[in-house]
């Protein structure tokens, strides 16, 4: 058994820095490259793409990422674990096999493809068998939106990834695995942690939580002393140096920018936190109040003392459904009295929407530069050089939302003065695909692992 395993984060979301994966494999020795591509809304976008083209539905950035790290994979044995498969892990694998053909390294990549998280084909079966899939937040039964469901995926844990690694995969592609399992699974595989080693599994999950958002743990988006975080242009993404006993250190490659200390790691630990006593995953319930941090070197934080409790018998299910339509538009009002003009414009616009009989579920007006993000907490309203009026509407009737987009821009000539910033033209109407969180019994989800060469 190895005494040290290094897992490097190379992507914190679909849209993250394209340079990061290559920099992680070239900056020093690592064992695993972990790439997290999936957010709650990503699955529904991928499902729409797959409907248009059955060869799509995965994170296409991933193919470029693998191409950029191919020498390290082939020559140095670095392994990759990614949830880039989205709603079509098999198509993602096919794209990688095509890449290996094109680059003359066919057979050098052993792909582990994890499926079984996709519940869409079984949805009616599940409902008929009494699995309500009610909304965890509102309690409503899924039947309310059943005919508008686009995708339904169970969050699956580390086990199928561990199986893929045990069967010799050096690139593991999953669909809706939990973000944290992508880091915990290789530790479990290398150190032989059992399915009931709750404290160690929890440590692996917390290591995953720390690096799943990429550089957000190594000085990116860090509030404390932000102005002194060095060389963010050259930021080093975080790496976990893990030990068999469940302790680990967070660090980054030498010569990179950013910062890893107790404050940067703590900020990432509290990100998107719910009840810290019970961070629920398919593998274990981790206790964030057990985490201890100490600086063990420059840009190096030791994490220890973590405890966990047995996993629950449920899995979370992420369901996406067509909800309604929205459009958001902006205009910029300029000194003098920029805010007063923007407020007058909002009043004119709302009166016109009213006059036309347009109704919406919501209209949201914000004044960017004044109170868009902090609302009434923003305090004094000085005479700003410019204020961006930002108005959004949402409703079930696409035509009404469309008509709203034609009401905003005329304001440039027929509303309050000193207005600009309309070059982008009418706002676009977007269909909202909303997210429906639910729980399902673990037993009904059967993850599958295929190994392809």
């Amino acid at each position: 058994m190895k005494s040290l395993v290094r897992v490097a984060s190379g992507q914190g979301f679909w849209g993250d820095w394209l340079e990061a994966p290559r920099r992680q494999v070239e900056g020093g020795e690592i064992d695993y490259l972990m790439l997290d591509y999936l957010a709650e809304v990503t699955m529904s976008i991928l499902q729409k793409q797959k409907e248009r083209d059955p060869r799509m539905g995965y994170a296409r950035d991933f193919v470029g990422a693998i191409e950029s790290v191919l020498p390290a994979l082939v020559e140095r044995g670095v392994k990759v674990i990614a949830n880039a498969g989205g709603v079509n892990p098999r198509a993602c694998a096919d794209a990688l096999l095509a890449l290996t053909d094109a680059r003359g390294v066919r057979g050098k990549l052993v792909l582990g493809v994890v499926t079984g998280d996709d519940l869409l084909p079984h949805l009616d079966e599940l409902l008929a068998a009494g699995h309500g899939l009610s909304n965890m937040d509102t309690g409503e039964p899924l039947s309310v939106v059943r005919d508008r469901v686009l995708s339904a995926n169970a969050y699956i844990g580390s086990e199928p990834i561990v199986e893929a690694l045990a069967r010799g995969a050096n690139v593991v592609i999953t669909g809706r695995s939990t973000d944290t399992a992508l880091t915990m699974a290789p530790l479990r595989h290398e150190f032989g942690w059992g399915a009931h080693d709750w404290d160690k599994l929890a440590a692996g999950i917390i290591a995953g939580h720390i690096i799943e958002c990429g550089a957000q743990a190594s000085g990116g988006n860090c509030l404390k002393d932000w102005e002194t975080v060095p060389d963010l242009w050259n930021v080093g993404y975080p790496i976990i140096d893990a030990r068999p006993d469940g302790t680990f250190e967070v660090c980054k490659h030498p010569g990179t920018g950013g910062r890893i200390d107790v404050p940067t790691v703590t900020e990432q630990l509290v990100y998107e936190m719910g009840d810290p006593h019970a961070y629920i995953t398919p593998d274990v319930v981790a206790d964030f109040t057990s985490i201890h941090l100490e600086e063990s070197g420059t840009n190096r934080v030791r994490v220890f003392g973590i405890t966990g409790k047995p996993a629950t018998d449920k899995l979370k299910v992420s369901i996406a459904y067509r909800a309604c339509f929205k459009a958001v538009g902006t205009l910029v009002y300029v000194w003098p009295d920029a805010l007063a003009k923007a407020q007058a414009a909002d009043a004119v616009l709302r009166r016109r929407l009213d006059m036309l009989g347009l109704t919406f579920d919501t209209i949201v007006t914000e004044y960017v530069g004044v109170n868009a993000t902090h609302g009434p907490l923003a305090g004094d309203r000085h005479d700003a050089p410019e204020v961006q009026l930002r108005v959004g509407v949402r409703g079930p009737d696409r035509a009404m939302v469309e008509r709203f987009t034609r009401e905003l821009i005329p304001m440039v000539l027929n509303g309050p003065p000193s207005v600009t910033g309309f070059a982008a033209g009418r706002p676009k109407v977007e269909e909202i695909v909303a997210y429906w969180p639910a729980l399902v019994d673990k037993g009904v989800v059967q993850p599958k692992v295929e190994v392809l060469r």
Binding site: E40, T266, E267, Y271, E272, F288, T362, P376
Partner: protein
Amino acid sequence: MKVRLLDLAHARSGDKGDTANVGVIALRPEWYPLLTRELTVERVRAHFRGVISGDVERFELPNLRAINFLLHGALDGGGTLSLKTDAQGKVFSTAMLRMVLDIAADEVKALSLPVAS
């Protein structure tokens, strides 16, 4: 004496559906007990009145010298539904740090708290 929370703590926020979480972290370990005393659910609820529509939950993490707050009904439905600029609650962190605390002069002195000018 007036003390800005911004000078006592740093913070990060994120989203879960229509709920924003704000983790408030003491800048110095010796300031953590004061934060746990001052940052009550009632205080935070009053601070965010008119900003959030739901209730506030509070969890202490003494191991990290942090307090985690859940602000329900903060994000106009959250996720893709939200029409807000900050649909994912990314800057509720600094909205929290706008809070100003009233601290007795001897405690300000004993804990070397930075006083708002």
